[in-house]
């Protein structure tokens, strides 16, 4: 039986965020730093109140956690992408990018296409609504390049006809992108 695993990154793409889970055109995020991509799923805290006379739970109180996050490191500082991530003034004629003092939170949709690690199936993960804040990491040295450090706070979206908010989707497809029909025969 085919296995659905998630591993390796073939490519990451981005677009303007969609609150309805619909994106038609994606742009590439070039040169992903090895080992930099991490999806953190935060879990809420459960507290229990017991009755005085025993260990029996009287009530459970669930405290939601901070929202989920996604971190991505990029080695390439493409001016078009920089203008999405930072508040900049870009002059294409001279490739001059000037960074404004104000901070910017980029509202992006992010699509991660994984590698087919097992059984020729690769996973496509899509975050339709994220708030991305960007910093730098890595010293600027002879041996390494400065890295863009993206931290995306994952927001929700609502698809047409559904009443519950969603955060992300995972879909497995064949290595060539063909959709898999997993309907039982």
């Amino acid at each position: 039986m085919p296995d659905n695993v998630v591993g390796g990154i073939e490519k990451i793409e981005y677009a303007a965020a969609s609150l309805t889970g619909v994106v038609t055109t994606w742009k590439p995020m070039p040169n992903i730093a090895v080992g930099s991509v991490l999806h953190t799923k935060n879990v809420g805290t459960k507290s229990t109140i017991n009755k005085e006379d025993g260990a029996r739970t009287f009530i459970n109180i669930f405290t939601p956690s901070e929202g989920d996050t996604l971190t991505i490191g990029l080695l390439s500082q493409d001016p078009t992408l920089l203008s999405e991530l930072f508040s900049t003034k870009y002059t294409a004629a001279t490739t001059l990018t000037e960074f404004y003092a104000e901070d910017k939170i980029a509202n992006l949709a992010i699509k991660i296409t994984c590698n087919p690690m097992k059984d020729g199936r690769k996973c496509i993960i899509i975050f339709y609504n994220t708030d991305v804040q960007t910093g730098y990491t890595n010293n600027i040295t002879f041996d390494q390049v400065q890295q863009l450090a993206l931290t995306a706070a994952l927001g929700t979206y609502l698809t047409t006809g559904d009443t519950k908010a969603k955060v992300y989707s995972k879909q497995w497809v064949l290595a060539n992108g063909t959709t898999i029909d997993s309907t039982a025969a």
Binding site: G8, A33, V34, V37, L75, V145
Partner: protein
Amino acid sequence: MRDSFDITIDVRGLLNVPSIISLLGADGKIYQTERPTGRALFTDLVVNSLGITNEQVQQGAGNVNCYVPSITSGGVKIADQAKTMIIARVVLSLLDERYMTNYQTWIQDENTLMQDTDGSFFYNIPFRYRSMQTNFKRV
């Protein structure tokens, strides 16, 4: 992705310039990987590769060996250090801290005078090579 052949091709390209060619003389050659036999009387350069990694930033290494015909002193064949030094210093200047479009080279390890199995003397110049891959997908 770049391979060992790219290293020898690229470095040979850096060395195949008038400042080197004029020092090699009419019969001198710049060889990739190995020097043919029977060249003891010629001034040659040989560029070889020690391999390259397959990572986002590819790191490679190689050698340039500067062969100069030996001279006879007191009935003994010895290295022509004066000519070797002239050629080696031009090679060093051409390979150290070169930032090309698709790759970089620099001199890192010690370079030294050595003797080949056929008795030829050569000056060994180890160099490093680096290239950043685009569309690297093993992330």
